[in-house]
């Protein structure tokens, strides 16, 4: 049961990444492409935290109960969590820039359809 728990989170993360990629490749509304991007972002963050997760341990914050124990055997790895915290904030900054540029581009073409942006074709 614990194994299933562990792998189900990885499966969720992988599924979100694939759904996000599928959305980016096939959707036509620019805002919806940005949403698919966010989904993939969430999936990657989940996968990164999952790599540092060890079942049956506490979060990496010292308190009265963990001080007595040896910390390395009572806590999960704090390093992936710190990296993901950075990633979440950068992801929102990227999404904000994406949406603003998308809105201005769609103003030029008159619709949110990405196929109307002929400058992006090659």
């Amino acid at each position: 049961m614990l194994e299933l728990y562990h792998w189900s989170i990885a499966g969720t993360a992988l599924g979100l990444v694939l759904i996000g990629l599928w959305g980016v490749l096939t959707r036509r509304n620019i805002i919806r492409i940005a949403l698919a991007f966010t989904l993939a972002d969430t999936g990657v963050n989940l996968l990164l935290v999952w790599t540092g997760h060890i079942p049956d341990r506490t979060s990496p914050i010292h308190d009265s109960t963990t001080a007595a124990l040896n910390a390395t055997e009572a806590m999960v790895d704090p390093l992936p969590q710190a990296l993901v915290l950075t990633s979440i904030v950068i992801g929102v900054a990227v999404a904000a820039l994406f949406v603003v540029v998308a809105v201005l581009a769609s103003r030029r073409t008159g619709s949110a359809d990405i196929r109307r942006l002929r400058e992006l074709r090659w």
Partner: protein, 228 residues
């Protein structure tokens, strides 16, 4: 149609690669590498009870400085683009529910944000979520009002001041201990008390102010230059 087929092929290939690779990530029962040092020595070396904050602010403070710079660049570009190409300058009237809520809720939300920032070294939280919470309180105030403020120059001043203090706190470490952003210029204190963990609370405060003012200026640009 052909686009969907290509997309499907790409998704399936990536999915196959991931399913092949991810199970190889060790299902380990213990911490490896540099995380081991952070977990075993983190509280003694930095004085912070929250090891994630210790990693972000103390061990990898330079990375966080870079992250703050990235956020600054993104918010500056958003405000710049919307100033160069303003979409409309009309502000719509808030509905009754929004107007009433924006009078009640901002104070508790602000308090929560300050708590998250002030206790970053003791409990979950830190500068980034705290700043975002404070910015959402400002957003609520903006959504509840109808007037157009003159300029957000004060916001920019606060933001620049916070960024400058981050750098100066870093150089304090250079002056005193010969290392940029050294956490120990203030001493670790007793781990678990509010005034402890060296520079960590100060840097969290600076990050919180900076994130709050950046996101607020983005929201203000959205509302007053982007219309809606």
């Amino acid at each position: 149609m052909i686009r969907s087929i290509f997309g499907l092929i790409l998704v399936l290939v990536l999915g196959a690669i991931m399913v092949a690779v991810v199970p190889d990530i060790e299902y380990s029962e213990e911490i490896h590498g540099v995380g081991l040092h952070y977990t075993s020595q983190g509280m003694q070396e930095t004085g912070s009870a929250n090891l994630v904050t210790a990693v972000i602010v103390a061990y990898r403070g330079l990375d966080t400085l870079g992250e703050v710079v990235v956020l600054f660049c993104a918010s500056t570009s958003v405000v710049l683009i919307l100033s160069l190409y303003p979409l409309s300058l009309k502000v719509s009237r808030p509905s009754f529910i929004v107007a009433q809520t924006s009078r009640l809720l901002p104070a508790p939300i602000l308090l929560l944000g300050l708590y998250l920032i002030a206790h970053s070294h003791l409990s979950p939280g830190g500068g980034f979520p705290g700043g975002a919470v404070i910015a959402s309180a400002f957003l609520l105030v903006m959504l509840g009002g109808t007037g157009v403020p003159g300029s957000s120059r004060n916001l920019a001043a606060v933001e620049s001041l916070a960024g400058l203090s981050f750098g100066l706190l870093g150089f304090w470490g250079v002056m005193k201990l010969g290392q940029f952003l050294n956490n120990l210029v203030l001493g670790t204190g007793t781990p678990g008390s509010l005034v402890s963990a060296g520079l960590i609370p100060l840097i969290s405060l600076v990050i919180g102010i900076k994130v709050a003012s950046e996101l607020s200026s983005v929201f203000a640009a959205f509302r007053y230059k982007g219309g809606h």
